[in-house]
Symmetry: C2
Subunit: 405 residues, 2 copies
């Protein structure tokens, strides 16, 4: 079950002027569930995105990147679940293009103005005909106040939809930022996560928007892991419609970035809290490093260790497993004598071993919580990094051994 993750409330998700959303039941993998989403953007919107670095990146990733690179203004996004259209070769690229062409015809724009996204099973051909047949239903239902429905339409093994809104004052105007994301397994984003969409009605020029989406991804989706598997389909898109009339320049940039990153962090943590089989949410903070790269390397070693993750599932303060993971993280000159390990406020280890003050019952108390912070102080510099992850339970195995997701 998701760890302290509240489902979004329909009325609390704020429409973003200039963005319409419509969903459909296209029957891509299963019937009677929404599995198709169309998002349209008014003229004048800017769009930026970051995509997976997986070499087996999906056909829609290839096509979306090419369409973005065409320089033509983006008018629509089309997202399907139930099939990732990854590992599908040339036929997969043709299917992604066919989807864009069909939507472009309905919207009277060029195919290059449509960006496609897919999520679901890998190495099965995308049933483009079903998507094309479902597009009119999605288009006829387009409306601004539809993020709640949209966030549900992009779910796969997610239990809870991930979506959130924020308001921020920019250039004397109130600007809205609304975002949604999906993801629960195959989560170890490298540039971005499975699928995330954030829109604002601020006006942000494209080059700045690209820098802002990268910064937001680095502060959020690039800090999470469920199982260490980097997806073939990761994409985070940032849309700025400009409808609020608030123009973001150098003076407004920091406030705008903060609002966007806050939404991105909320969504990214939501993915971990809804991680496949998760019962615990862990924050792995490594500080006192020489640079943030080595801090992140150690944080990910801890976050990926199946032994650490099963100990958290069991609420067992078997914390030597954390020391082992720190030790094999690959920082060759790490001096374990200077290292301190904390579980929330409890000092667990120092001077190369268990702290004299540590008592098993203190570790046990923290391990029983649903939210736990593992803090590693390296004592060799001023850099730090934080990674969010979840535990490893029977249900992770069950979910991934039972369904073909």
């Amino acid at each position: 079950m998701p760890v302290k993750l509240n489902a979004p409330v329909a009325g609390e998700l704020l429409p973003v002027p200039g963005v319409l959303l419509g969903t459909a039941e296209a029957g891509i993998k299963r019937t009677s569930r929404k599995d198709l989403l169309v998002v349209t953007l008014d003229e004048g919107a800017t769009v930026a995105g970051v995509f997976t670095l997986n070499r087996f990146c999906a056909a829609p990733v290839t096509v979306a990147k090419a369409h973005l690179a065409s320089g033509k203004p983006v008018r629509a996004l089309v997202v399907n679940t139930g099939n990732a259209n990854a590992g599908t070769g040339e036929q997969g690229v043709a299917a992604a293009r066919a989807t864009c062409e069909a939507l472009a015809t309905l919207l009277a724009c060029a195919p290059e103005q449509v960006l496609p996204y897919s999520t679901g099973v890998i190495m099965e051909q995308l049933p483009a005909d079903k998507i094309v047949a479902g597009l009119p239903q999605a288009v006829s239902g387009l409306k601004a106040d539809n993020w709640f429905d949209a966030a549900h339409a992009i779910m796969t093994t997610d239990i809870v939809a991930k979506a959130v809104s924020r308001r921020v004052a920019i250039a004397g105007k109130t600007v809205t930022v609304t975002g949604m994301a999906k993801g629960s397994g195959m989560i170890h984003p490298n540039m971005a996560t499975m699928l995330g969409y954030i829109a604002t009605d601020a006006a942000i020029p494209q080059p700045m928007l690209q820098e802002m989406v990268k910064a937001a991804a680095d502060a959020s989706f690039n800090c999470i892991t469920v199982d260490g598997d980097t997806s073939t389909n990761d994409a985070l898109m940032l849309i700025a419609t400009g409808k609020s009339g608030a123009a973001v320049g150098p003076a407004e940039r920091a406030a705008m970035q903060a609002a966007i990153s806050e939404v991105a962090i909320h969504l990214a943590q939501g993915i971990v809290r809804d991680g496949e089989g998760a019962t615990k949410f862990m924050t792995i903070r490594v500080e006192g490093g020489r640079d943030s790269a080595e801090c992140k390397q150690i944080a990910y070693a801890v976050a990926h260790s199946p032994l650490v993750k099963t100990a958290f599932f069991a609420s067992d303060p078997n914390l030597g497993r954390i020391l082992a993971a720190i030790g094999y993280a690959g920082v060759a000159d790490l001096d374990v004598q200077r290292l301190r390990l904390y579980l929330d406020d409890v000092l667990v280890a120092e001077n190369g071993g268990r702290a004299a003050s540590y008592r098993e019952e203190d570790g046990q108390r923290v391990m029983k919580q649903e939210d736990i912070t593992v803090r590693v102080a390296l004592g060799r510099g001023d850099a730090s990094a934080t990674v969010w992850t979840c535990d490893f339970s029977y249900d992770y195995v069950k979910i991934n051994a039972s369904y073909r997701s």
Copy 2:
């Protein structure tokens, strides 16, 4: 349950002249089980070893390396289970030294001639007093024909003991090679595995022996993974007693290395077949790479992927997960169009997607086997690498969430 792993038969494990073994019930963690092993070596034996690269290496690893470096001839090894003596600081080093001193007194040798090894829970102090109290029992039971008992005394979460013997003709004489190992979880050796001991009655000079143990480890223990966790206590020791009278020089080296590596591979594969919760044994072979490093990188990405491992547990040919793992392995210029993926003899993927000839029932047939080879042909060079691993089952979670191992 172990995957096609036969328990060693007592009568088939050949004594190695010059090596005596004795066990005891020291009650280190649990009572009424053998948890202490003493191995003594006749004068003239050479010893070489490789150890974990984990920065939190255990106190006995530190002490064993120092004692080896002293240059004094090794006369005995002492191994305990139930406690890893890792993450135990200076107190742990003192406990390891106390164990060596007690055994040295019993054997009338110097403490530096004794090498200590521990395996079990991390970050709990070693009860050296219990070990010291158990040593006389182990010493009084020393005998040559005792490898079967010894292999059982070093087990932790192992279900089946791992031990094997080989005979090889060297310099006109028949030479014996007998080895044993333990390990089931926290298995992703980096230089060696949990604990492995191989002895031969060939005469091998120390510098050559060190090269041979490194070569054997690289061909065996450094090619396996159960959960990607590199232990704090990994050690592989190679002992040459010389009692056969067969001297290994340049002419005999290849045959001797082959016999040693064969024993090492048998033991390493045994650890994977007895991997925690294992139901499948997978050989991940990556060929056609530019160098063996990139082949191994891809093989380990596949072997470590929880999504791949749970799919094998389910016998579900959800093989797109393998493509995803290959894609995120970190080979930045990998051309997925040239790559071919085989499951045993079945061509699964080519040209960036599913092979036209691939049929689900063929994949299903192979997936149902207990032994499966995943072969990845990269098509960009002549290098190759092989990694052995097991699947990821409910029982892996159960074992690591239920016991403090």
